[in-house]
């Protein structure tokens, strides 16, 4: 899923987290489904990685589900971590940064 963003604030003063404050919600707003695989779904974390040192005034954001990993917790519960990743590129297609939001499905947490 891709979107174009346009920001009028000073490029130098803008951080990726200002454009994308919640990477999980940002990716879901692009139309990706929120997977619900076990009993409870919670937010697991967020990453922001700025590759260029400043952000251009126009960006294209492309979101995808980049990873789904299952494991068992120390208490024996099944966990599934889904990574929603958005890449931000300049109008020339140069990668500017990435944001990742992690959704955790937890077994038996209700």
């Amino acid at each position: 899923m891709s979107r174009a963003t346009d920001q009028s604030a000073s490029a130098a003063a803008v951080a990726l987290a200002d454009i994308c404050p919640d990477p999980l919600v940002f990716a879901l707003e692009s139309g990706l489904p929120r997977l619900r695989l076990l009993d409870r779904v919670i937010d697991g974390g967020s990453d922001w990685e700025l590759i260029a040192a400043s952000i251009p005034s126009s960006l294209t954001a492309v979101s995808r589900i980049s990873e789904i990993v299952g494991r068992t917790s120390s208490a024996g519960r099944r966990l599934i971590r889904t990574c929603y990743e958005t890449e931000f590129r300049s109008t020339r297609g140069v990668l500017v940064g990435r944001a990742r939001g992690f959704s955790l499905d937890v077994e038996g947490a209700e």
């Binding site: 987290a17 919640d22 040192a53 400043s54 140069v94």
Partner: protein
């Protein structure tokens, strides 16, 4: 006096921020800012229906507070990397404390100071609910947006450290085929088992695809306009012979950039140390590889 990013030391513990009680209004404002209108973040009944005693604080709101604190603690900084994990819920009305410390300090080739921080938040029962790591750099313009990230390239090739050790047995056929391939004449007589001097290059783990540390540079977000081997050198103690078992240790020794007529050139120089089965040094080879980038196009990032 509070140190800033240019003076702070490893282990410095930032002053705690808090305790602060998160208000419902904070969550409503955050919902509007982030687009996360999940009701249990601001609706008491919805939170209770989900088994929580009170509305649950948005995780990214906590991340935003920590990021803001890094900026207030360290002064003018860039934050190219910020990673946060939400370990347990915090609740509206509960008192939270945010803290952090300096975990490591590095210097980039361009003179930037790189400060790695560990961050956290705790709730009133003492449970750590958030952990985060952050990379902050001086915001002095020393390394422009379109500079090649030389420090990260150095890290990617483990500059100065052994990058890999490989063992090769030189069979007679290997030498003969090599001589045929370069249009040479196979040796006869007492020197029949001696490989030509150019055969040292055949024992380069990178060229043989046994060692590949190219992933980072090949994915740099700059347009590549060329590249290839820049030079090969060999200094040998004795010739290679058929039947030798040679241990090759590869080490990257230099990473640097130059401005060329076609663009910015990134050089990586690696050194192979060749030792025989007795551990005796046979030869040392040096190989330079160059990649050319068009930084004028890359500067479109900031246009």
């Amino acid at each position: 006096m509070m140190p800033d990013i240019k003076t702070v030391d490893v282990g410095f513990r930032f002053p705690d921020h808090g305790p602060i009680a998160v208000q419902l209004e904070d969550m409503v404002r955050w919902a509007a800012a982030s687009g996360d209108y999940t009701a249990f973040h601001f609706d008491q009944d919805e939170a209770e229906a989900r088994g929580f005693p009170a509305p649950v604080v948005h995780g990214p709101w906590k991340a935003a507070v920590l990021r803001s604190l890094v900026e207030s603690w360290l002064g003018a900084v860039n934050i190219p990397e910020f990673s946060v994990r939400y370990l347990a819920p915090d609740f509206v009305g509960d008192a939270m404390v945010f803290g952090g410390e300096v975990a490591a300090i590095e210097a980039s080739r361009h003179g930037r100071r790189i400060v790695r921080c560990d961050l956290w938040a705790t709730r009133s029962d003492g449970v750590k609910t958030v952990t985060a790591t952050c990379v902050a750099t001086t915001d002095d313009g020393a390394e422009a947006a379109t500079d090649l990230p030389l420090q990260r390239v150095m890290d990617s090739v483990r500059l100065g450290e052994p990058a890999g050790t490989f063992v090769y047995r030189i069979d007679g056929n290997d030498v003969d085929r090599f001589v045929d391939a370069i249009g040479g004449q196979r040796r006869t007589g007492p020197e029949a088992d001696i490989a030509p001097a150019t055969f040292y290059a055949a024992l380069d783990p990178v060229e043989r695809r046994d060692l590949d540390l190219d992933g980072f540079v090949q994915n740099l977000p700059f347009p590549k306009i060329g590249g290839g081997n820049a030079f090969n050198e060999v200094e040998y103690q004795r010739p290679l012979r058929k039947g030798d078992v040679i241990t090759v240790t590869t080490r990257y020794t230099e990473v640097y950039e130059k401005e060329g007529s076609t663009g910015t050139l990134l050089f990586r120089v690696r050194e192979n140390e060749l030792r025989d089965a007795d551990g005796e040094l046979v030869a040392t080879t040096r190989c330079g590889h160059v990649l050319a980038f068009d930084m004028a196009i890359a500067r479109g990032v900031t246009s």
